[in-house]
């Protein structure tokens, strides 16, 4: 499961073994959890880019016992734990005369329902909205060591984007309307964030103490500096102070709630295949859920405009290029292959959660995983009929096992509103929502 310092032989071995090996290992690492009175809710938001081949995604029949389409086939083992929702749209990602940034707007709108204005136009400033994962994390995450974690299998885009606003595609998680959360791609950094970078308990404790005193002193420094600069924009300093406080809180939590699990070896490198990299990210996240290190995550499995190629499944072309298939049957087939691969990897994670006992059920029973993206038809850059799949019942809050079809262009934000409601963080409105979605 984990890439170790004994790199090659073990890695080769593991690749051959695939997913089946991981679970027993995982179970061995986590002490049996005592039965809890109320299960801890967990949330995951998994983003896929550049749309999907919609007629190979959307099931023909609705309700329970819907037929699994080619792209949804990988979810067969957990089909009674998922809902497929069709007809939902994020029309706030439409252009509104605001340039070509359809891809940046897709990731920006996904968890906000808010139109991302093209900042490269003179005078337009960064302004989006707090994303759903962060609203939830602010409540359910506050008592876990890491309130939320933001992951991406693709590295952030560092060059030209459609509109010049790359930061919109590089994350789907915004802390507030002006601050996107950066994502972690390297498994070692993910490991370090979640579990600390190894060493004995004593070293970790000493570290926490040292960092605590640094943050304490830094907080005092920032309070002293703020206000002495004079009239002007000092917002970044305020954000820094807020970040200091937040990390202070995290360290206090980690001191009061030591992780009592046997840790696997730290991963040393990024696995050389997309599949192995994604599985490793999911493995780490499943472990973090089990150990209750974090309860909220977002993960970009593919980043909008991604130029990743998938030679292993016979798609040597770049993802974004293939998504503009212009109805060429071969390119459609190739995009569908990518969609299926992504579904397989998501299903892998869901199966992991389903196999992990948690209180009176499984981790999946008590989780809500949203899988989808802000682009429906990637060829034409449409934000209608978005690929949307929910997994897990969130402790009975959602009935699962159905395909639900909604009237064309029902705001996706309505679903987000419902999720917020069930998460215990209700809002009256979110983005362009009109009312909670009934499901």
């Amino acid at each position: 499961m984990f890439i170790t310092k004994r790199a090659l032989p073990r890695r080769t071995f593991l690749r051959g073994m695939g997913a089946t090996l991981a679970l027993p290992l995982l179970d061995a690492m986590v002490p049996a959890l005592t039965a809890q009175a109320r299960p801890t809710p967990r949330f995951g938001f998994i983003y896929i880019a550049n749309g999907v081949i919609q007629n190979q995604w959307t099931p023909a029949t609705t309700g329970a016992g819907f037929e699994l389409t080619p792209i949804l086939q990988p979810f067969a083992a957990v089909r009674d734990r998922i809902n497929v929702l069709s007809g939902l749209s994020h029309l706030q990602a439409d252009t509104f005369g605001d340039g070509t940034g359809d891809h940046p707007r897709s990731s920006a709108v996904w968890l906000t329902g808010v139109h991302a204005y093209d900042r490269s136009r003179p005078g337009v400033e960064v302004k989006l909205a707090t994303t759903v994962d962060q609203i939830i994390a602010r409540r359910v995450g506050q008592t876990s060591r890491v309130p939320s974690i933001e992951l991406s299998v693709d590295y952030p885009l560092q060059s030209a984007c459609d509109s010049g606003d790359c930061f919109y595609v590089n994350t789907v998680s915004w802390r507030n309307e002006t601050t996107p959360n950066p994502t972690e791609t390297h498994p070692r950094l993910v490991f370090d964030r979640l579990f600390g970078d190894g060493g004995s308990a004593a070293t970790r404790e000493a570290r926490a103490k040292a960092e605590g005193s640094i943050l304490d002193s830094l907080g005092a420094e920032l309070r002293r500096v703020t206000g002495t600069l004079g009239p002007g924009d000092t917002a970044k300093l305020g954000e820094y102070l807020e970040s200091v406080r937040e990390v202070e809180r995290r360290i206090q939590h980690s001191e009061s709630q030591p992780v009592e699990i046997e840790l696997p070896e730290r991963p040393t490198d990024i696995p050389d295949s997309f599949e192995a990299h994604t599985r490793l990210m999911f493995d780490l996240q499943a472990l973090a859920f089990r150990a209750d290190v974090t309860r909220v995550f977002s993960l970009i499995m593919s980043r909008e405009l991604s130029s990743r190629t998938f030679a292993s499944i016979g798609v040597p072309e770049q993802h974004h290029a293939v998504s503009h298939h212009r109805n060429d049957p071969e390119l459609i087939m190739k995009k569908a292959k990518i969609d299926i691969l992504q579904a397989q990897l998501c299903a892998y994670f869901l199966e992991r959660l389903q196999a992990a006992p948690d209180g009176d059920g499984t981790l999946l029973d008590h989780s809500l995983i949203l899988y989808g993206g802000g682009m429906g038809d990637g060829n034409l850059h449409r934000h209608s009929d978005l690929p949307t799949l929910m997994a897990g019942g969130l402790g009975g809050a959602f009935k699962t096992g159905r395909h639900l079809s909604y009237p064309q262009d029902t705001p996706m934000a309505n679903l987000l509103l419902t999720i917020l409601d069930k998460a215990g963080t209700p809002l009256d409105r979110l983005g362009d929502s009109t009312q909670p979605l009934s499901l």
């Binding site: 790199a7 439409d94 252009t95 070509t100 900042r119 490269s120 003179p122 005078g123 400033e125 960064v126 974690i149 952030p156 885009l157 560092q158 060059s159 030209a160 010049g164 790359c166 930061f167 590089n170 002006t178 601050t179 996107p180 959360n181 950066p182 970078d197 190894g198 040292a210 960092e211 005193s213 640094i214 943050l215 830094l218 420094e221 920032l222 002293r224 500096v225 600069l229 004079g230 009239p231 002007g232 924009d233 000092t234 917002a235 970044k236 300093l237 820094y240 807020e242 970040s243 200091v244 990390v247 995290r250 130029s307 040597p316 072309e317 770049q318 503009h324 212009r326 390119l331 850059h381």
Partner: protein, 792 residues
């Protein structure tokens, strides 16, 4: 009457006539209307320019026709201030020659230029009277690149081991218009905070040579597409393949070097050697039954004791002189040959630490050693004051030391003097004074008032502009002594800094950010169509452009030479790609190109030609857009909504048509035409270069037609013709360079009210417009030296 009819048709937005149409010259009827219009126009603007503007612009862009949604009120020519934004747009359209549009009446270029100059004069006078300096936050976080350079200059750490390298430890920054130092986009978040804490701890331990630091595992992988049949630059002659890594070894200790081989075991013996700073320290033979592992191609692991400090590590094969090289055995495909190749080298350690050693970073940090216990605190204060002055880029206050000294005391009590310094340094590296450039508004400044930034703040602006790093002692001393206000001193400092090796950051950032050079890393030219593209070529592309831009900067050449130079930088691989003979070996050298060579200047470079292509073919549209946007600052507007842009897909072009035919069909759509008439001809002129920048005379069997016609009717052919056209617009090119430099220097996007400052930079830079003179003029410019107090 006839003229009016023509005008109203032209205003409807449909291009009725193209190149060479009679409308390109002013019609007598149109000219006869001029005096009438002038009577209603500006007292401030001379009658003739005002008449030109009224006649050729307002005829369409008036409140009745609202052509293109853009309206000019001719009455506002009286006082341009309130309409400065609209008038700057007019200036830009005139200077970029994109207005009047093709088919509309157009006077002689000199008439338009005169109108533009008069308008600029009025706008500049307005800006001088009421300067607008834009909204620049008081707090500007260091970008990741700046942080990395600051660490290098503060702690003499220029080759941090991979595991503690800044690129690994800190999240990547976001880019705007190519630049990664835009204040607004340098976000701060709790997860970034955790990374800063982590980086501070790890880097401070390396800097002081902490003997108790944990073992690092640094994996250096070689790209599978990187051929290993040639000597790697920096490695000894007589070797082939492998890699060279410059890396800091933090303490005196043993380090392990583990080599992993790529698949393809050798039947014959191959010797792998490890060199440190060019000296062979270990070697082992693999394969051929000669190795101590009995002939298996088992990867060797060398364990070597080393002293602390930066070293050049080389791992390579000893060249078999009798072995045929890969290039003769096979056409160059993207795989390795039959010889064994190195897949990765893992450097781990330290093991068996013998002491902190005497590294450059320790010498930089420990400016004193305590002679006695009583001497410790004063010495610590001295060390920390020296570091903090550089890190915080200003004189150190007692309050700063009060923040730092408790960490020294705690660390001292825990594990001695060095640990105390390390702890205090760790604290310093997360201080807001280090991580943020903070500028102060002098007390009592009224809201909105413009003021000169403090001298130490100017020093920081200057060093982050030219070096992407902190000021050095000389610059800071000049600022603290108040001498930086003296224009002569300031100018001397700029020249000194440009001559310093650290100014390479400016050339690299300009090349990689302004020119989007770093996009080359993401390009994946099709393997079948371009079999000889590989990682070596990719690197060579990038290196050529970087060296070329740096040469223009260092040799004080005019920036126009970026387009016209008769030299470039090549190694054998790149020269072969370009078909230039007699360049041997893997090292880059300056090559003077023969007269009439197609390669001189940026547009003939493989890097630019490749980043403006798709993986399977060239794109005249992308190339045209790149030139308009980055060389002439005149980007076409985005395609209209709901028109799927043909060229965003990298699929194969329709085979039945040539590229040119397919594009002509696209231009037949009027909504597409207005922009494509500007982009396409530029791209066509570059069609003799394929998608990886190789010269070609045919494409898919048809001869290349590299001719094009600009919207103003000028016909030209091929790269020489294109260069000529660009030289006709060299003022626009120089203004573009000035604009990008100013944006980079300020760390914010420019707006219409910055245009007067850009013009001032161009004027102040002198007639030759050398790179250095433009940099100096940016430093002198009002937005660089001043700031406007906020309103809150």
């Amino acid at each position: 009457m006839a003229a009016l009819a023509v005008l109203s048709v032209a205003c409807a937005g449909t291009v009725i006539a193209r190149a060479g149409a009679p409308g390109a010259r002013p019609s007598p009827e149109a000219q006869s209307r001029a005096p009438q219009a002038a009577s209603a126009a500006a007292p401030r603007l001379a009658p003739q320019p005002a008449a030109t503007l009224t006649q050729y612009c307002v005829t369409c862009h008036n409140a009745r026709l609202k052509t293109g949604g853009f309206v000019i009120d001719p009455a506002s020519l009286g006082a341009v201030g309130p309409s400065a934004e609209a008038w700057e747009k007019v200036v830009h359209k005139l200077r970029s020659r994109s207005m009047p549009p093709a088919g509309a009446p157009r006077p002689a270029q000199a008439v338009l230029d005169a109108a533009a100059s008069a308008l600029e004069g009025a706008l500049d006078r307005e800006a001088a009277a009421r300067p607008q300096l834009g909204r620049l936050p008081l707090v500007h976080r260091l970008s990741r690149t700046e942080y990395q350079h600051a660490i290098r200059d503060l702690l003499a750490l220029d080759a941090l081991p991979k595991e503690v390298s800044v690129d690994f430890l800190l999240p990547a920054d976001n880019i705007s218009s190519g630049f990664d130092n835009i204040a607004e986009l340098l976000f701060v978040s709790p997860s970034a905070m955790e990374r800063y804490l982590d980086a501070a701890r790890k880097i401070s331990r390396v800097a002081v040579g902490d003997p108790s630091m944990p073992v690092m595992v640094n994996i250096h992988r070689l790209d599978p597409e990187h051929p290993q049949d040639e000597r790697v630059e920096d490695l000894p002659y007589g070797t082939r393949g492998g890699l060279s890594v410059r890396s800091e070894f933090p303490v005196d200790a043993t380090y392990a070097f583990k080599v992993e081989l790529a698949a393809g075991a050798a039947r014959e013996a191959h010797e792998i050697e490890l060199t440190i700073d060019g000296r062979r320290v270990a070697a082992e033979t693999i394969g051929g039954g000669a190795g101590r592992r009995g002939g298996a191609a088992a990867p060797p692991e060398f364990r070597v004791p080393l002293t602390a400090g930066p070293k050049l590590v080389g791992v390579s094969f000893v060249q078999h002189t009798e072995a045929r090289d890969e290039a003769t055995l096979r056409p160059r495909m993207r795989s390795r040959g039959t010889q064994p190749a190195i897949a990765s080298v893992t450097i781990s350690g330290p093991y068996d630490v013998t002491g902190p050693g005497d590294s450059p970073s320790r010498r930089r940090v420990f400016v004193c050693r305590p002679a006695s216990a009583a001497d410790e605190a004063p010495c610590a204060r001295r060390i920390l004051s020296t570091l903090a002055r550089r890190a915080y880029r200003r004189p150190v206050a007692e309050a700063d030391l009060q923040d730092l000294m408790p960490f020294f005391t705690a660390g001292r009590a825990e594990a001695g003097f060095d640990r105390g310094i390390q702890r205090a340094l760790e604290r310093m590296l997360v201080s807001a004074h280090f991580l943020f450039r903070m500028e102060r508004v002098p007390p009592g400044t009224p809201p909105g008032a413009a003021f000169r930034v403090a001298d130490v703040d100017l020093a920081s602006r200057l060093s982050f502009f030219v070096w992407s790093s902190i000021p050095d002692d000389e610059l800071l001393d000049a600022a603290v002594a108040g001498r930086l206000r003296d224009p002569l001193v300031l100018d001397r400092q700029v020249r000194r800094m440009l001559a310093d090796p650290r100014a390479a950051a400016l050339a690299t950032n300009v090349a990689s950010q302004w020119l989007y050079l770093r996009d080359i890393e993401a390009k994946l030219p099709d393997e079948i169509l371009f079999p000889d593209f590989d990682e070596t070529l990719r690197r060579a592309f990038r290196r050529e452009t970087e060296l070329f831009v740096e040469s223009v900067l260092r040799e004080d050449r005019g920036v126009v030479e970026l387009l016209t130079a008769d030299y470039t930088f090549l190694n054998e691989r790149l020269a072969r790609h370009y078909g230039i003979p007699n360049v041997k070996g893997s090292h880059f050298r300056r090559v003077t190109l023969p007269p009439g060579s197609v390669r001189g200047g940026l547009l003939g470079q493989g890097s630019i030609l490749t980043i403006t292509s798709y993986s399977t073919r060239t794109s005249p549209v992308l190339r045209g857009k790149w030139v308009l946007e980055n060389l002439l600052s005149s980007p076409p507007p985005p395609p209209p909504p709901n028109v799927p842009s043909l060229d965003t897909s990298a699929a194969e072009p329709e085979k039945a048509m040539t590229m040119r035919e397919a594009m002509a069909r696209h231009r037949a759509n009027p909504a597409c035409a207005s922009c494509h008439v500007r982009m396409d001809p530029i791209g066509f002129a570059m069609e003799n270069f394929d998608a990886v920048g190789r010269w070609r005379d045919t494409d898919g069997g048809s001869p290349i037609d590299a001719s094009g016609v600009l919207p103003d009717g000028t016909a030209f052919t091929g790269m020489p013709g294109l260069k000529q056209q660009l030289l006709r617009q060299q003022d626009q090119f120089v203004a573009t360079v000035a604009e990008r430099l100013l944006m980079y220097a300020l760390g914010r996007n420019l707006q219409y009210f910055d245009a007067p400052a850009v013009r001032a930079v161009v004027r102040d830079a002198g007639p030759r417009h050398t790179f250095a003179s433009l940099v100096a003029a940016v430093v002198k410019s009002r937005p660089f030296q001043m700031r406007q107090a906020g309103s809150e």
